[in-house]
């Protein structure tokens, strides 16, 4: 997978997940596995924070700790400002750290870099450069060789201007950005690499619940090629909001005891925020967590504990927002929830059990929800983006930048995607005609699929009907069990299981034949033989069909002309 010789000569390439709250770095080991790199402090999730104190620059966890005592010289949550004009940014998240200022339209931060000197203006580009430099150095220290190139993940709403600003900032850090990739795809890629199988055709909902924002994307994966069908963003839902829930809870407790609101004191608030974040993390693993802050406000110490249930009740609104966001993305993609084959929860907040539970409840039982709470084998959601980036970095490390640019050019990336599924009519278990998709909708052409079908039990002349199919959502009321029977086996199980629990209508997805495209006749097929059907969709959207009896010379070929 990786070109080790080129890597040794030219240094290593890494994947960087550059988040608004935290960043991660990862590399792909010699055996093709993506591994996260811990920085000097041992953090794999490195806070995207830089802090200046006494002429020293602090980065990551150390810088984050300074939010309490040195907030005005600490720069945090700056990724989303990159490449934007001052007029375009929403500085809400920076209220409790160094505030962005307008320097001729350029977003800057006024910090005291050297003690005793006048505060200086550092542009957002410079801050990003410094941050990337620290990440690069951490990776180089870990790998023991120079890091020359990186693949960086960016949100799906990252504009070209932002991308250019990022590339320029990285250049300042002596780091070549080989490619910027979209976060949800990197996350899907991390899972695809884990399964390490022939890629299946699936439609994936990727929900990335970050620190300050959440993004949902509906992605169609067709034989390992990804297309984003729809995205939805919520800049006001994320880990910070969950922290705020706990901050409010503890503040109320404090008020009850000491008649003083710690939220009114910036330092107390910062302390409480940091501790609440720790509590939130603990609650993802344990059912209760305790908090202890010495001298929180007015000289009072604060000690308390909270159980998971209380937290979940309090955070319900945030959870609702996340679910809304996810449903919104699916709606935008003009799909029904049952048409989602897989859900990937990414981002640090995806550790939250309740979020995973909510997704579990929203989707049918058969849809896997990849989150630590619902899937024991799930990858760490905080690491997904970096892993995907590292895998991509290893994949393209042997190419020139020019080569990469050419391959990512719209001439290559823009391709016709099938509007409807194309498949073959088969005889179902009950003797009725059923549709089997070979090329599902949203498959990019050119594409090729090969499928083997059984011959009829009694043999004879066989017709291969190439048809277009559409999905149909069937609503099944539990009592009417018969309707579910003609579906797939899995659907049956599901309806049986839920029968006793709740009286609700169940939606299931079925494919039905929509339009006959072509027919091919295979004469004298003997029983027990296999029939192989190959559909090859050309770039001009014409279809080449080949059907043959496996093990014989007998076959039929034909072309379905382009529309």
């Amino acid at each position: 997978m990786s070109d080790s010789s080129a890597e040794q000569e030219a240094g290593a390439v890494i994947g960087i997940a550059f988040g608004n709250t935290t960043s991660s770095i990862a590399y792909t080991s010699a055996d093709g596995k993506a591994e996260l790199i811990a920085n000097e402090e041992g953090d794999r999730q490195i806070p995207t924070v830089l802090s200046y104190l006494d002429s020293d620059e602090f980065h990551g966890g150390e810088a984050k700790a300074q939010l309490v005592r040195n907030a005005s010289n600490t720069v945090a949550y700056f990724r989303d400002y990159l490449g934007k004009k001052y007029s375009e940014i929403d500085p809400t998240n920076s209220h409790h750290s160094a505030h962005p200022i307008d320097a001729d339209g350029v977003v800057s931060f006024k910090v005291v870099e050297k003690s005793g000197e006048e505060p200086s203006n550092i542009s957002i580009g410079e801050i990003t450069t410094r941050h990337l430099k620290r990440l690069r150095d951490s990776a180089a220290d870990f790998l023991g060789k120079e890091v020359t190139g990186a693949v960086v993940t960016v949100p799906t709403d990252f504009t070209e201007a932002q991308r250019e600003a990022l590339v320029a900032a990285a250049k300042g850090a002596n780091l070549q950005i080989l490619q910027t990739i979209h976060e949800p795809i990197a996350e899907a890629l991390a899972y695809a690499a884990k399964e390490n199988m022939q890629p299946e055709d699936r439609t994936i909902l990727v929900v990335d619940i970050g620190g300050t924002r959440s993004d949902a994307s509906v992605v169609s994966a067709r034989s390992g090629m990804y297309t984003i069908l729809a995205t939805a963003h919520d800049y006001e839902t994320g880990g910070v909001q969950l922290d705020q829930v706990l901050v409010d809870h503890f503040a109320q407790e404090f008020i009850k005891k000491h008649k003083s609101d710690p939220r009114e004191n910036p330092r107390a608030l910062a302390k409480l925020k940091l501790e609440s974040e720790t509590v939130k993390r603990t609650l993802s693993i344990a059912v209760t967590a305790s908090i202890g802050v010495d001298s929180l406000a007015d000289g009072f110490d604060f000690h308390s504990s909270i159980n998971r249930l209380r937290y979940e009740i309090r955070a319900q609104k945030v959870f609702d927002d996340i679910m809304k966001l996810a449903e919104q993305a699916v709606q935008k993609a003009e799909l029904d929830l049952v048409e989602i084959d897989e859900v990937i929860l990414a981002g640090g907040s995806s550790h939250t059990p309740k979020i995973a539970q909510r997704f579990r409840a929203l989707f049918p039982e058969t849809t896997p929800i990849h989150a630590p709470f619902t899937d024991a084998a799930a990858l760490n959601p905080s690491e997904l983006a970096a892993r995907g980036a590292a895998l991509q970095a290893a994949l393209i490390s042997e190419f020139d930048v020019e080569d990469i640019d050419q391959s990512t050019h719209p001439a290559v990336t823009v391709a016709p995607h099938l509007s409807k599924s194309i498949g073959v009519v088969v005889v179902g278990a009950d003797g009725s005609e059923e549709f089997r998709a070979l090329l599902p909708a949203q498959t990019a052409v050119p594409a090729r699929r090969v499928a083997a079908f059984a011959a009829p039990a009694e043999g004879g002349d066989v017709v291969v009907k190439i048809v277009e199919g559409v999905s149909e959502i069937r609503k099944t009321i539990i009592e009417k069990k018969e309707e579910a029977v003609n579906g797939e086996g899995e659907v049956e199980d599901e309806s049986e299981e839920e029968e006793e629990e709740e009286e609700e209508e169940i939606k299931t997805k079925h494919m039905k034949v929509d339009k006959l495209l072509a027919e091919a006749l295979l004469k004298g097929v003997e029983k027990g033989q296999k029939i192989e059907v190959t559909i090859q969709a050309a770039a001009d959207t014409s279809l080449n069909i080949a059907a043959r009896i496996v093990g014989t010379q007998q076959g039929v070929r034909g072309v379905i002309a382009a529309p």
Binding site: S407, V414, S419, V426, L521
Partner: protein, 433 residues
Amino acid sequence: MDSVKFDDALPVFSGEWPGENNFVFHAPITSPVNRKLEPLGPHFLAHARRKRHSRTFSEDDRLEASKKVKNIEEEDAGEISEPEDAGMLSRDAKDWKNQDHYAVLGLSKYRWRATDEQIKKAHRRKVLKHHPDKKAASSSGAHQDDSFFKCIQKAMEILSDPVKRRQYDSVDDNADVDPPSKKAKGLFYKLWAPVFAAEGRFSKQQPVPKLGNEKSTKEEVDEFYNFFYNFDSWRTFEYLDEDVPDDNENRDQKRYRKNEDIARLRELVDKALGLDPRIRIFKEQERERRNAKKNAREAEEKRLAEEAAKKAEEDAKKKAEEEAVAKASREAGKKAKEAAKQAVKKNRRVLKASVKDNNYFVTGDPSPATIDGVLGDVELIQGKIDPDELAELVSKLSVSKGADAVKAVYVDQAEALVNKGAAKKEDFKALFA
């Protein structure tokens, strides 16, 4: 791309087929929508590659497949991954003597060839996978015990210690390559090369010569067989021993096993030597060469013998001829001699008669002394002259009439003899009286 398998059957066709061909086109697909693909992941990479190089799926598959082959070969050197079978995973660590340490570490492809680095890596990989702490965390519950982890540790203990590893390698019959059976078909070199490559691992002397192929020279083949006949093996059999303190019995057994192994190898080499087509070819060539020499020598000998015989024959012929000539001449000489003798006798008689007829050159009755003197002289002349002169003398005498004339002939003859120095005047008593 892998084929998707559906168990559902395709419908049977009945009724009238609407078209002439077996493929009937009804309608195009609903117009597609242009969307932007996310440019990441290996499959997008493949898509970009196809699109940029305008390759079709099958072209791209082919090109990528050929690339992959190369990659796999390159990876082979470093990659250690083998499927673990259930039987191995459920092994009891106490039975470590019968455990395949290489298989436990996933190195059964490499065995004695595995480098220390590979062993280390493989061990680390296995530990990461089978550590009891990890097992406890996984919910599978099937292999909760840590016996396989112990197996891994034991394997590492043995393979990381050079002495123990040698002992294990010595008896690692999974690395042995059995000699091909007599019925096995195929090229001798192909069948036997792995056998000797496997045997060669026990050699103290490295590198081990290779079996080679039909193009190997005689020297190479000789070197190969000599090497294996004089094989210096480090193979030991301690691993098979029970864990008891050293005793004499044990040592005997050790020696016995070692000897047995040497005998086994010898037998193996004998067998290979017997089957090696090159040996047959070399023998054939050798025989031909020897025969060629012999033939040449024989031809030479024959030629020499023939020459000698010819010469002898010629010599004999010559000799015979010479002898014949000699005989003829001898006979001729004899005849001539006899003739001469006869002539001499006859001439003598003529001479005697001539002097007697002439009354011994005296008138009247000659005295006996005179007769004796004259005869003495005549005989002297006769003795001193050769037959030719005698014949001449005789012819002179025959024409001479009268005593004086005859006497003069004699005197002339005597004087000629005296002049010649053959006789002295004094000897002729009567003629010069």
